[in-house]
């Protein structure tokens, strides 16, 4: 059987086809088609099938990751949306948390909401904090709003009433009235999209869902139809921001969940690859042309957050906690008027690109520095298809950086790399220390085009003892899709003092959510024996306003003590202390309903060639003032033998990336196709 993973990025669409019997993989790349995102998939699948020499019906699985939703939100190409909310609250979407985006820079302003004020309506109704009715739903005011929505010709509607996470009756009534007035409108209720308290975040998530809904529904219909036409035996899946797979039906109701789809797949793939290499704790380090994504994986489990922003708006659905740093290969090096050397945040991007690419770039970039120092091979970029002008790169660094600073050109170029690494290191340290982790316990999992190029210096700067560079580092996202499970995240707010009485309510909620999870997995066609349920309770000490997520083995009447014990443990783990005897409050109940999709294994051939046979050349590479220029062996990755030690300095080249092994570092290819580098701190 064959399994296909597709990652639709902003620039390229990546395909990875895995032959599960042979354990072999084929990677394929096409430019993306932003006008009609499903088009690149429609074009790519037949081409890939032709390369592999198989028929569409040999495909048994197809999963895809996409940044279509995020791009649509950023470019504000979503639907004409209306918002219906409780009287007195139509501006919540605009006030937000009353914060300005930057403390000192007033040119950075709040983004205006995707629903302008003229399309935000209020209905007379009000619930209390406990879900009881304070003011009954006034039918006339609901009808008037429904008529106004029709008059305004909206394509989609978000409904978000205060405290609806406790009682969805009024939102459901409103939906009926909207449906009557606007039968074709796409409707999102906050009690369904995110039944969680804190009105601004719930409203923002619901509004974004409605804003993306109509266009995403069209895209998915298109995608599913063409995928099924090409591969009749599959039910196409999409990966969501939490790293799990979902079916087309779920995506239609919850498009907002796909916002971090592609990068999430990369992290899932990294976590899974590292686990099978025996490394449960990793920091993922994905360096592209303009940005770097990092995330923390502990015990082979990616870290989650429900505190992310998409296009400047909060989205509270669970997502993998991926941090984006504005630094990549295209980051520009520049001098300020006080003699400071800076790298980024401006990037030359793909166009005009680095100076060496000769596409019009005049400002030296990180990539230029790598070329000048011999770390990147001037002839091997994209297998020699791209002409490289090292002289131009060298001249740019000399004229714009080295001469004004009175530095030698080599040192200036190396300074650019050191500063870029210092910037990235600071971001990585901040992400790990925020959670109280010690980096000595982690391995650095480097992928993306430029990750393996800087991983050595980064590990040294951060104190990370080991680096892993997976096979084909440029295709991690498409591969990650093949390693994911179906996951539904369910949440209900239950803000109450935790005691043996309220515990019964908690148990009832979990029972309901478990049933809902079963229903969803049944709809997805997951067999009973392949289902797993994970339970979590968000809780806090009374008087706190921040919660700790406590995982629970089971939630039954007798488990209250286990919950309190777990809360103390996790509070200590997260914050370093607990307060015995202080009253605890439950906030949210969460269930993860997981449908296990068999994970295929990629196998790597074990031939016993020697290292010498894998070596393509020796070239001079600069490793900083301490080492200067060193004659450095260069290896072809595909030809590397397993388990043979490579002592740095050395360079390993492949189609999608270059790995630099620093002096004193030592590397070997393991049995899973990973290059594992010991940093020897």
């Amino acid at each position: 059987m064959f399994r296909l993973g597709i990652d639709v990025g902003g620039t390229f669409t990546d395909f990875t086809l895995l032959n599960t019997e042979a354990g072999s993989a084929i990677h394929y790349k096409l430019p993306s088609t932003p006008q009609n995102p499903a088009e690149s998939i429609r074009q790519g699948i037949p081409k890939l099938l032709a390369v592999a020499g198989i028929e569409g019906k040999a495909l048994g699985f197809l999963g895809h990751g996409t940044t279509v939703a995020t791009n649509m939100a950023i470019e504000r190409r979503g639907a004409r949306t209306g918002l219906v909310t409780t009287k007195g609250f139509r501006d919540v979407l605009e006030v937000g948390r009353q914060l300005r985006p930057h403390l000192y820079d007033y040119s950075q302003i709040k983004p205006s909401p995707v629903v302008p004020r003229r399309r935000r309506w209020e209905v007379i109704e009000r619930l209390s904090f406990d879900g009881s009715i304070e003011t009954p739903f006034l039918e006339e005011s609901g009808a008037a709003v429904a008529a106004a929505l029709a008059e305004a010709e909206v394509e989609s509607v978000a409904v978000c009433f205060l405290h609806s996470y406790r009682n969805s009756d009024h939102e459901c009534l409103m939906r009926k009235m909207i449906k009557a007035a606007l039968p074709d409108a796409y409707i999102s209720l906050s009690s369904e999209v995110l039944p969680e308290f804190r009105e601004y975040e719930r409203m923002s998530t619901t509004v974004l869902n409605a804003y993306l809904g109509p266009a995403m529904a069209t895209y998915f219909e298109d995608f599913v139809t063409s995928a099924k036409a090409l591969a009749p035996n599959i039910e196409p899946y999409t990966i969501h921001s939490n790293g799990g797979l979902m079916t087309a039906a779920t995506v239609r109701d919850h498009p907002v969940r796909t916002c971090l789809s592609g990068p999430a797949a990369g992290v899932v793939g990294a976590a899974e690859s590292a686990r099978s290499a025996g490394l449960p704790h990793i920091i993922t380090y994905d360096v592209g042309g303009t940005s770097t994504d990092i995330s923390v994986v502990r015990d082979a489990k990616p870290t989650f957050t429900s505190d992310r922003q998409v296009a400047g708006f909060p989205v509270r659905t669970p997502m993998l906690d991926i941090h984006v740093i504005g630094a990549g290969g295209g980051s520009i090096a520049w001098l300020d008027d006080a003699g400071g050397l800076k790298v980024g945040p401006r990037s030359a991007g793909a166009l005009p690109g680095p100076v060496a690419y000769g596409l019009g770039g005049t400002e030296p970039t990180l990539t230029d520095a790598n070329l000048v120092l011999g770390r990147l091979n001037a002839n091997a970029l994209l297998e020699g298809t791209m002409p490289i002008d090292i002289g131009a790169a060298r001249a740019a660094i000399e004229n714009k950086i080295a001469t004004p600073l009175g530095l030698e050109t080599d040192k200036a170029a190396f300074g650019i790399i050191e500063i870029a690494v210092a910037n990235m290191s600071r971001a990585i340290r901040s992400v790990t220390t925020e959670r109280g982790y010690d980096m000595a316990d982690f391995a650095l999992f480097a992928y993306g085009g430029a990750g393996p190029l800087h991983a050595g210096e980064l590990a040294l700067e951060c104190g990370i003892p080991r680096i892993v560079v997976p096979d084909a580092p440029g295709t991690m996202c498409a591969r990650g899709i093949l390693l994911s499970d179906i996951v539904h995240d369910l949440v209900r707010s239950a803000v109450a003092p935790a005691d043996s009485v309220s515990w019964l309510d908690v148990c009832r909620l979990f029972k309901e959510m478990r049933c809902e999870g079963d229903r969803l997995l049944t709809r997805d066609g997951v067999l009973r024996e392949r289902r797993t349920f994970r339970y979590f309770i968000d809780a806090r000490y009374v008087g706190q306003n921040h919660e700790v997520r406590v995982p629970m083995e089971a939630i039954g009447q007798g488990d209250f003590r286990a919950f309190l014990k777990g809360f103390s443990e996790y509070h200590t783990l997260e914050y370093g202390y607990d307060i015995p005897g202080r009253a605890v409050e439950t906030v949210n109940c969460r269930v993860q309903a997981i449908g296990d999709v068999t994970r295929p294994e990629q196998r790597f051939s074990q031939d016993s060639r020697s290292l010498d046979e894998a070596m393509t050349e020796r070239r001079s590479v600069y490793f900083g003032a301490a080492w200067g220029w060193l004659e450095t062996p260069v290896y072809r990755r595909e030809a590397l033998p397993q388990h043979k030690r490579i002592e740095g300095p050395a360079i390993v080249e492949e189609m999608s990336a270059t790995t630099v092994i620093l002096p004193k570092h030592s590397a070997a290819l393991d049995g899973m196709g990973n290059i594992v580098i010991e940093v020897g701190l």
Binding site: G88, V95, R100, Y104, D336, A422, H546, Y577
Partner: protein, 571 residues
Amino acid sequence: MSREFDPVAMEVFSNRLLSITEDMGNTLIRSSFSTNIKERRDCSVGLFDARGRLIAQASHVPLHLGSLMGGVQAVLKTYATGDMEAGDAFICNDPYLAGGTHMPDISIVSPVVIDGAVQFFTANIAHHSDVGGSVPGSISGAARTVFEEGIRIPVIRVASRGVVSDDIMRLVCSNTREPEERALDLNVQIATNARGTALLESLSDRTGLGKVLGAVDDLLAYTNRRLRNRIALLADGSYSCTSYLDDDGQGGDPVAIAATVHIAGDALTLDFTGTSGQARGAMNVPESALRATVYYSIKTLLDPNLPPNGGMFEAIAIDAPDGCLVNPRHPAAVGARSITCNKVARAIFGAFAPLLSDDSVMAAGHDSIPAIVFSGERRGGGPFVYLETVGGGSGARADSDGMDAVHVHLTNTSNLPAEALEHEYPLMVDEYGLVEDSGGAGQHRGGVGIARQIRAMQDDIVFSIRSDSHVIGAPGVFGGAEGATASLIKNADGPDREELSSKVSHIEMKAGDSMRLETAGGGGYGAPETRAPSALAADIRDGLVSRENAEQDYGGPFVEQAVLTAEGEMG
């Protein structure tokens, strides 16, 4: 002596040192108990050299910019570095005795001993939700002296060689309303410095102390040079602006804050001569808070990404007459300084306006930090105090309308969601929205204010407020109109509707009574008749500007034309 400036090492070490402060900040926020530190992030951490120069700071509120310096300098004045040992920690908060900014902000300063001598200090400051005094929360606009504002802590050694003094902790914590939380958070503050100390030791171990110290000198010199370059571009001369508080917290006339900026070559002095005498209430600004306000303003006006360190501070001189609102005499109360600080920023921004190019000038924002406080009995029994500071409109700029509903200048603190508030307290939010017609008209409109109306759900709720800009609105620039003033109305929807003044306390509320605060809008930029008709039409369609007001501010024919054009475009 003439070591060469090394730009690469400086940038690399700058990142390493900032990493240490970020690690300390994370430790402080992650491990603290109180919402004030953990969620509102009302805290800052910093590294200093042995001379007390700030090297790096992780600050979450501009009001803390440079305010750690007061504490560190007080420590250096009180104790000789030769008498300090590894593992020591000093505590202080007093604005007059120890460079504090107001009583609730407690600083911890710890020496870092490397090679047998103090080489650095690690320091942090956190806003504690109560430090005793006459009212819960320790801030009362009515306080006359610092003695009413909570426990006064001069610089004292709270830990010796790694052992925290139980005696001192008990003394401090017993003087507050929540001793358990104070003790938890103070211990976290001490541990935060210990973390920073360990990281500095390890950095110096790894790279050598000399390299670290060299990079620090480079960094401070670089920052100083960079700011002086900005200053040198400004025309020499003196430029003044006066802003006003509605009153000094005890009623009476508006209170003037006069700021004059003197530019001579690359030297900059801010002079507050002409400012009214010190307030009878707690609106006074102590030295540390004034410095923070000046540093914030200059960073924002001249170089928003300038690293905040001693090199920046050395380029700026501050002069304030003794006994005035921004340099009060002991023991004048200072608890409510933050509103005044925002008005000081307004005066500084105004003074700079003629120095900047037209497109970097910003109209005044609401420039207040209105704080509302409700207290009473919880539903299940036990007292509660709910405090919130409410945003307003920011000033319009050359390239955009002012932002609606934000904190401006020295604070940036998030709200409490209505749903969280109603769970917690016997209160109900009737409205939380934008104030129509509150943004000053102009080519670019000032941001609009926030309306927050809260109803008591039971008897015996007590309400207090510290607010401003209820009398004097935010001025516009280049012909832009003034923003609307703020107002406080009791029972806005009832027959017993009553407007209250900006600084009232202990107002009794019965079940069903409501308080409505409408905060001020920002000033406009440029003449109203140059506004893009489509932008005006959109404001009218969105109800942010009423047709009636628009006709007054922009002229009837202009409005008519704008609305017609917009309708044409919409089809």
